[in-house]
C-alpha cells in the first residue's frame, strides 16, 4: 500500500518528533487545511439547491407518491426492471475507493460475490469499499482525516465528525455546486429525485458539498398493535382525539399481571408530536427569536404526561433506560406481544424476515402491527429524518468528480430499476429467485452478497415494498399520507450554526435525552425540568441560539437591502 519505506535512526527520531507535533496539530490541520476559515453561522442560500424533479423510469407505483413527499409504494415487484442509468456510466474510469458506515455484516470478497461483480460490470469500473460498523465509524473517520487517508468518496459519520465541518470540507472536499446546483443536476437524473429538504442539509459554509442519503422526511411515530387497540374499542387512530384519550388507552392496555404493558421503551417522541411540540429548533420570523424544543411548553407537557404514564406503570419495566445498543432486546419484547406500542424507525417495519411485519407474523398470526401516527387535534409531525448523512467527494480533477457523481447517481437508482434490483437483490439465480408472485427472494448467498453498502453512496427517498404483506405496504403508505401534511418547518435545514453542527447530535443531545429519561423514570422530579433546560443552555445551547439568530438576522438584513 505505502510501498517500501526506508527508515534509519535519524528519520525515525525526526518522524517521532513530527508525530508528537501531529498530536497537537492534527485536528487543527485536518479541519482547517490550507484554506482554513473559522466556522460561522449562516443562512443557506436556496440558489445552491439543485432543481429536483420526480423520477419516472416508466414503472408505475401501485400507490403513487406525491410531490409533497409521500413516497411511492409497490404491491408487486416489477417483472421487468428497466435501466435508470445510461450505458456503462464509468467506462474507462480508474478504480474508485469509498469508505462508508454499515449496519450489516461484511459482504464476501469480490471473487465470491456475484452481485458485486455484476454491478461493477454494469458500472464499468471497480469500486473498493471499506465498510465500517456505524459504532466504530467515528474512530475510523478521525484517523482517516488525521492521517490524510481519505478515499475518493466517503460517508460523513452520523456522530463524531470534525469540529469545524465547513473548514474541513473547504480544505479537503469538492464544492459540488458547479456540478449540481440548479438545472445542472439533470445530468444525474437519479440524484435530481432527491428531495430539497435533503439537499438543504448538504450545504456547509455557503457551498453545496454533500450528496445526501435521503430519507422519508419524517421518521414516523413508531408502531402499534392494531389488534390490541381494537380490543379496547379503538378501530381507527382517528378515535384517539387527544393525549388524554391516549393516556386512558395506555392504562387500559396495561396489565402487569399478564406482563402486558402499553409502552416498550420511549414514548416521548409520540407524545410530543401529539401535543404539537416543536422539533429541535423553532424560528419565529416575526420576532427573529429562536427557541429550542426543551423550552417549548408543549414539549414540557409531553414530558409530564410521559412521567405520569411511567408512574402509572404503563412502560415495560427497564425498557425506558435501554440504549440503542439494547434495541434488539426491547424490540423483541414488542415482537413477542408484550407491548402495544414501540418507537422505532420506519425501515424496521417492512425489512424481510426480521422486520416487524415478518417477525411478528412468525410468532402469532393475530398480531396486527401497524405504523403509528401522532394523535389528537394538536398533532404535528417532525421533519426529523431528512437524510441519514451526506457523502463527500475528495478534491479531484473535474473529470474524476463527474465520474464519482455518476457512481452516486447509479447508487441512487429508484425502486424497480435494474440497478436497484442488483443492489438490493443481486443476480437472479445466484442471489435471488423470483417466487410465484414474481417477488425476488434472497438466497443464503444473496443475504451476504447484498450487504455491499452501495446505498450509502447515494440514495433517493426509499419507496415502500413488502415481499410478504401487501396490507403492510398499504398501512405504511397510509401513515405517510397522514404524516407528510402534518410536517412542521425545520429551521436547522435552512440555517446553520457551527456549534449546533458539532454538538447538536452529540453532547447537547446526550444532556437532553438523559435528562428527559431521568424525569420520565422519576429519578428526578418534574420540578427539575428548569434546571435541565439551564444545564443544556450553558453547555452550548445558548451559543447555538445566538449563532442561529445571527444567521437569521443577517439574512433579514440582506433581504432588507434588496
Amino acid at each position: 500500500m505505502s510501498g517500501t519505506t526506508y527508515i534509519n535512526r535519524r528519520t525515525l527520531l525526526r518522524r517521532g518528533a513530527g508525530v508528537g507535533l501531529g498530536v497537537v496539530a492534527a485536528p487543527l490541520l485536518a479541519s482547517c487545511g490550507d484554506g482554513g476559515t473559522a466556522a460561522k453561522a449562516e443562512a443557506k442560500s436556496a440558489k445552491l439547491l439543485p432543481t429536483t424533479t420526480v423520477r419516472n423510469i416508466g414503472i408505475k407505483a401501485d400507490l403513487p407518491g406525491t410531490a409533497a413527499g409521500v413516497p411511492s409504494a409497490f404491491l408487486k415487484y416489477p417483472a421487468n426492471p428497466v435501466r435508470a442509468t445510461k450505458g456503462t456510466p464509468l467506462k474507462g474510469a480508474k478504480k474508485i475507493t469509498a469508505v462508508t458506515e454499515t449496519f450489516a455484516p461484511l459482504p464476501p470478497e469480490r471473487g465470491k460475490n456475484a452481485a458485486l461483480r455484476e454491478i461493477e460490470k454494469l458500472l464499468g469500473t471497480q469500486v473498493d469499499f471499506t465498510a465500517v460498523p456505524a459504532d466504530d465509524y467515528p474512530a475510523k473517520f478521525s484517523t482517516m482525516v488525521a492521517g490524510d487517508q481519505l478515499p475518493d468518496v466517503f460517508m460523513y459519520p452520523e456522530t463524531g465528525g470534525v469540529d469545524n465541518k465547513a473548514g474541513f470540507l473547504q480544505a479537503t472536499c469538492v464544492d459540488l455546486g458547479p456540478y449540481l446546483s440548479g438545472g445542472k443536476v439533470k445530468d444525474y437524473p437519479n440524484l435530481a429525485a432527491i428531495p430539497q429538504y435533503a439537499w438543504q442539509g448538504a450545504i456547509f459554509g455557503g457551498k453545496l458539498y454533500g450528496i445526501p442519503l435521503a430519507r422519508n422526511g419524517s421518521a414516523g411515530a413508531g408502531f402499534y398493535r392494531a389488534d390490541l387497540f381494537e380490543r379496547a374499542g379503538v378501530s381507527s387512530l382517528d378515535q384517539i382525539d387527544s393525549t388524554d384519550r391516549l393516556v386512558e388507552l395506555a392504562k387500559e392496555l396495561t396489565n402487569p399481571k399478564k406482563k402486558q404493558y402499553f409502552f416498550i421503551s420511549g414514548a416521548t417522541t409520540l407524545l410530543a408530536q401529539s401535543t404539537g411540540a416543536q422539533s429541535s429548533w423553532k424560528h419565529d420570523a416575526g420576532t427573529g427569536k429562536w427557541t429550542y424544543q426543551l423550552e417549548d411548553d408543549k414539549y414540557r407537557h409531553a414530558v409530564e404526561i410521559a412521567a405520569k404514564l411511567y408512574k402509572a406503570g404503563c412502560y415495560y419495566p427497564g425498557t425506558v433506560q435501554m440504549s440503542g445498543a439494547q434495541k434488539a432486546q426491547y424490540t423483541d419484547l414488542f415482537k413477542n406481544g408484550k407491548g402495544a406500542y414501540v418507537y422505532d424507525g420506519m425501515p424496521a417495519y417492512l425489512a424481510p424476515a426480521t422486520g416487524y411485519v415478518d417477525a411478528m407474523a412468525a410468532i402469532d398470526k393475530s398480531f396486527d402491527v401497524r405504523p403509528m401516527v401522532p394523535v389528537g387535534t394538536d398533532a404535528v409531525a417532525w421533519t426529523n429524518n431528512t437524510a441519514l448523512s451526506n457523502c463527500f467527494v475528495k478534491k479531484a480533477s473535474d473529470d474524476r468528480v463527474k465520474e464519482i457523481l455518476r457512481l452516486a447517481d447509479f447508487a441512487a437508482s429508484p425502486f424497480g430499476s435494474v440497478e436497484y434490483t442488483l443492489i438490493k437483490y443481486g443476480v437472479e439465480g445466484v442471489d435471488h429467485e423470483r417466487d410465484k408472485d414474481g417477488t425476488p427472494v434472497l438466497t443464503k448467498q444473496g443475504t451476504q452478497d447484498t450487504t455491499v453498502p452501495w446505498s450509502f453512496l447515494g440514495s433517493a427517498t426509499p419507496a415502500f415494498f413488502s415481499a410478504t404483506s401487501a396490507d403492510a405496504t398499504r398501512y405504511v403508505h397510509e401513515a405517510y399520507t397522514t404524516l407528510i401534511p402534518l410536517l412542521i418547518d425545520e429551521p436547522t435545514l435552512t440555517y446553520s450554526s457551527p456549534t449546533w453542527d458539532s454538538k447538536g447530535a452529540g453532547s447537547l443531545n446526550t444532556i437532553h435525552s438523559d435528562g428527559i429519561k431521568d424525569i420520565v423514570t422519576g429519578r428526578k422530579p418534574m420540578s427539575s425540568y428548569d434546571a435541565l433546560v439551564k444545564k443544556w443552555r450553558n453547555a452550548g445551547g445558548d451559543k447555538c441560539r445566538s449563532e442561529f439568530e445571527q444567521a437569521s438576522q443577517q439574512q433579514a438584513a440582506e433581504k432588507g437591502k434588496k
Binding site: 450489516a104 455484516p105 461484511l106 460475490n113 424507525g345 448467498q445 435525552s513
Partner: protein
C-alpha cells in the same frame, strides 16, 4: 528492595515446602489424597452446603450466558423472540445460523487471517519478550534500567489513537498485517512477569553456564528457556488471546475489509441492528440474532480449545512471576 525480595522468596519456598509435606504421618506413610490434614476441623454440614451453594451459583453465573449463546445460535428466529433474545434450549434446533455465517466465505477468510495473525504475532511477541526480558534480567546491562522504565511507562501512559495511527502510517505499515502485530508486540506486563521469572532462577546456574564457556545466547537457549516453560506458556497464551481478540487496531490500520480478522468481522455481525443513540431512527433493522450468536461461538471455540492444554502451566507461571518479582 532486594532484601525484601529475598524474604519473600524464602517465605514462599517455606510455604511450598509445608504444602508438599503436610503433617507427615507418624508411620511415615503419605496422607491419602483428599484426606484432611490433622489441624483442620471437620466441616459442618451447613458449611459444606453453603460452600456447595456458592460454587453452584458462581458456576451458574459463568455458565448461563455461555449456554445462552450456544443455545441461541441453534435456535430459530421465532424461538429467540419468544424467549426475549436468549434461548437455553431451542425448541426447533437447526444449523441455519452457522450455514449463514459461513456462506460467502467472509467468516472463513477472517478465521484464517486471525489464526495467521495470532500464530505469527505470538511467535514474534515471545521472541521479543524473551529476548528483552532476558537482557533486562541480567545485571550490568548498559541502559537496562532506562529501557525497563521506558517499557513500564507504556503500561501507564499510551500515546493515543491518532499519534499511533500516524506512526503506523509513517512506518509504511498502513493496510498491512504487520500493523496488527508490531504496535502490540511487547506488552510491558508480560515483560515484567517473564523478567521476574528469569531473575528468580538460581544465580549458580548462570555461573555454571559461564564457567562451561556458554555465552548469553547459549545460556538463554540451553539453560534458561528449558527451565522457563511455564512462564513461556503463560506469556504465549496471554499474547495469543490478546491477538485473537484484538479488533481496534484492525479497524484503524486496515483499510481493506478483505484483510479484517475475525473479531472485526464478528463485530459487524454483533453491531448489526444496533441503533446509534443519536443517529437516524431505525436505520438499523433487526438482526438475525442466531447468526450473531453463531459467530460468537465460532470466535470463542478455537481459543477455548487451546486453554486446557496450557492451563497446568498457568497458575505456576503467573504466580512465580508475580510473587517473586
Amino acid at each position: 528492595m532486594k532484601g525484601c525480595t529475598a524474604v519473600l522468596t524464602v517465605e514462599t519456598t517455606a510455604v511450598k515446602t509445608r504444602r508438599r509435606t503436610p503433617a507427615a504421618p507418624a508411620a511415615g506413610e503419605l496422607r491419602p489424597s483428599g484426606a484432611r490434614p490433622p489441624w483442620m476441623e471437620k466441616p459442618t454440614r451447613l458449611g459444606l452446603f453453603l460452600k456447595g451453594l456458592a460454587l453452584v451459583l458462581v458456576v451458574g453465573l459463568v455458565a448461563y450466558p455461555l449456554l445462552g449463546v450456544i443455545g441461541t445460535s441453534f435456535a430459530s428466529q421465532s424461538d429467540i423472540i419468544r424467549s426475549n433474545g436468549l434461548v437455553l434450549w431451542p425448541d426447533h434446533p437447526n444449523l441455519d445460523a452457522y450455514r449463514t455465517a459461513f456462506t460467502g466465505g467472509r467468516v472463513t477468510r477472517a478465521l484464517f487471517v486471525s489464526v495467521g495473525v495470532t500464530v505469527a504475532g505470538t511467535v514474534c511477541s515471545l521472541l521479543a519478550t524473551i529476548g528483552m526480558a532476558y537482557g533486562l534480567s541480567r545485571r550490568g546491562v548498559v541502559g537496562g534500567r532506562f529501557i525497563l522504565m521506558t517499557a513500564l511507562f507504556t503500561m501507564l501512559f499510551n500515546a493515543g489513537v491518532i499519534p499511533n495511527f500516524l506512526l503506523v502510517k509513517e512506518l509504511g505499515l498502513y493496510n498491512t498485517f504487520a500493523a496488527l502485530v508490531l504496535p502490540t508486540m511487547v506488552s510491558a506486563f508480560n515483560l515484567v512477569v517473564m523478567r521476574a521469572f528469569f531473575m528468580n532462577l538460581p544465580e549458580e546456574l548462570y555461573d555454571a553456564a559461564k564457567v562451561d564457556g556458554a555465552g548469553d545466547f547459549r545460556t538463554l537457549i540451553q539453560v534458561v528457556l528449558p527451565l522457563s516453560k511455564a512462564v513461556v506458556a503463560v506469556v504465549g497464551l496471554f499474547s495469543a488471546v490478546a491477538y485473537w481478540n484484538a479488533y481496534f487496531n484492525a479497524l484503524l490500520y486496515l483499510g481493506d475489509n478483505d484483510k479484517w480478522p475475525l473479531p472485526m468481522v464478528l463485530r459487524t455481525f454483533i453491531l448489526q441492528g444496533q441503533a446509534l443513540d443519536s443517529g437516524a431512527a431505525g436505520e438499523a433493522v433487526a438482526p438475525q440474532q442466531a447468526v450473531q450468536m453463531a459467530v460468537l461461538v465460532i470466535a470463542v471455540v478455537p481459543i477455548l480449545l487451546v486453554y486446557p492444554f496450557l492451563q497446568r502451566y498457568f497458575t505456576k507461571g503467573v504466580l512465580t512471576g508475580a510473587v517473586k518479582g
